[in-house]
């Protein structure tokens, strides 16, 4: 029964993922991945921002620069997905006795922003609830990627180009509402954007720093500025998102 409740709670997330990963599928193919390569990225990573960066690195790495690319991939994926560590620790506070170590090793795979958000709104989080909750988002995320990757070739350019922007729209939808409530997060986000603009438009920086590393540098510097320059009395607001 708890499993079924999880399935039901996961429906909205799954539908949302279906449309967003459609954009991801198109983007992955535009970076040179085949449809099944794009699908495998989604099935095994199950993360939005991390995958966009990963596919960007895949598209920019040649056979000669593979070892550098692997390091860049490890560092980018680590930094971008670091938030999942905190979510895992936070979720640990709510788990019941069915959440054994093997259960954690399985359900831990499905910690995403949205799944974490729904799960942490529950009184108690059991193994079966997490398993149920993860099913439809995983299916939606993978299926949407497949549809985007395949239909990206069939649909006219004007449609695929317009769909590729969707994933950025989703990022705006994650950042803006939280920034309205939390001034410190708003300021850090703006600093990060300013740094990103500098990295993009200053030719010297644009030529020497890859897009994956630029994102990490901007985000870490902006966050450190936030930690040491801003009051963080409201930091709880962010972890509830």
């Amino acid at each position: 029964m708890v499993f079924n409740k999880g399935i039901k709670d996961g429906l909205a997330i799954g539908l949302g993922y279906l449309s967003v990963s459609f954009s991801f599928g198109i983007m992955a193919v535009s970076q040179g991945l085949s449809w099944w390569q794009a699908v495998m990225v989604s099935l095994f990573n199950l993360t939005s921002a991390g995958q966009v960066a990963a596919v960007g690195i895949m598209g920019s790495v040649g056979a000669a620069s593979l070892s550098g690319g692997l390091i860049e991939m490890a560092v980018s994926t680590f930094i971008i997905n670091l938030r999942y560590s905190l979510m895992g620790i936070s979720l640990s506070q709510k788990t019941d006795e069915t959440m054994t170590t093997p259960a954690r090793l399985v359900t831990g795979f499905a910690i995403t922003d949205e799944i974490f958000g729904v799960a942490s709104s529950q009184e108690k989080v059991s193994r079966n609830y997490m398993l149920g909750l993860a099913v439809l988002p995983i299916i939606g995320w993978t299926l949407g990627t497949l549809l985007g990757a395949v239909c990206g070739n069939i649909l006219p350019d004007i449609v695929t180009n317009s769909l590729a922007i969707g994933i950025y729209g989703m990022f705006v939808a994650i950042v803006l509402p939280v920034s309205r409530k939390n001034k410190s997060i708003a300021i850090v986000s703006i600093i990060s954007i300013v740094l990103s603009i500098i990295c993009y438009y200053v030719p010297l920086l644009h030529e020497h720093i890859s897009s994956g590393f630029a994102i990490i540098i901007c985000a870490v510097v902006a966050s450190l500025i936030g930690v040491f320059m801003l009051p963080n009395s409201e930091s709880e607001v962010a972890t509830n998102e």
């Binding site: 949302g16 967003v20 970076q31 495998m40 990225v41 990573n45 921002a49 991390g50 966009v52 990963a54 690195i57 895949m58 790495v61 593979l66 690319g69 692997l70 991939m73 490890a74 994926t77 670091l82 938030r83 999942y84 560590s85 905190l86 979720l91 954690r104 831990g108 004007i158 180009n161 317009s162 922007i165 969707g166 950025y168 729209g169 989703m170 990022f171 705006v172 939808a173 994650i174 950042v175 509402p177 939280v178 920034s179 309205r180 997060i185 986000s189 990060s192 954007i193 990103s196 603009i197 438009y201 990490i216 901007c218 902006a222 966050s223 936030g226 040491f228 930091s235 962010a238 972890t239």
Partner: protein, 106 residues
């Protein structure tokens, strides 16, 4: 994409992404007490998403004008607290209709 490049990169991204989720979930039972470390973790996701979105969003469609319209619609819908799905669809529609209009006019 060449599989000799794809599979090593995929493996690294999958392993790092999985371990970063699973290890703390298995090992940590206590909440982080250090305020500064906590604040850093609070900021990172939003700083990453912000840097990733801008200015890249402006170059995500075939014209900077349609992308800019999509971006403005995303800002408006997100500001009004619409769901991720609604904002994503609105952004796509805005960019699409603008591209269509540009094609017809030019």
């Amino acid at each position: 994409m060449n599989n000799a490049i794809y599979f090593p990169l995929l493996l690294v991204s999958v392993l790092v992404t999985y371990l970063i989720r699973a290890i703390p979930f298995v090992l940590f039972k206590k909440k982080i007490e250090n305020k500064r470390v906590q604040a850093f973790f609070d900021y990172i996701p939003y700083a990453v998403l912000s840097a990733m979105t801008f200015p890249a969003i402006l170059y995500s469609t075939n014209s900077i004008i349609s992308a800019a319209v999509g971006f403005v619609i995303a800002l408006i819908l997100a500001y009004r607290g619409k769901s991720l799905l609604v904002v994503a669809i609105g952004t796509c529609l805005g960019a699409f209709l603008t591209s269509l209009l540009l094609t017809l006019v030019v």
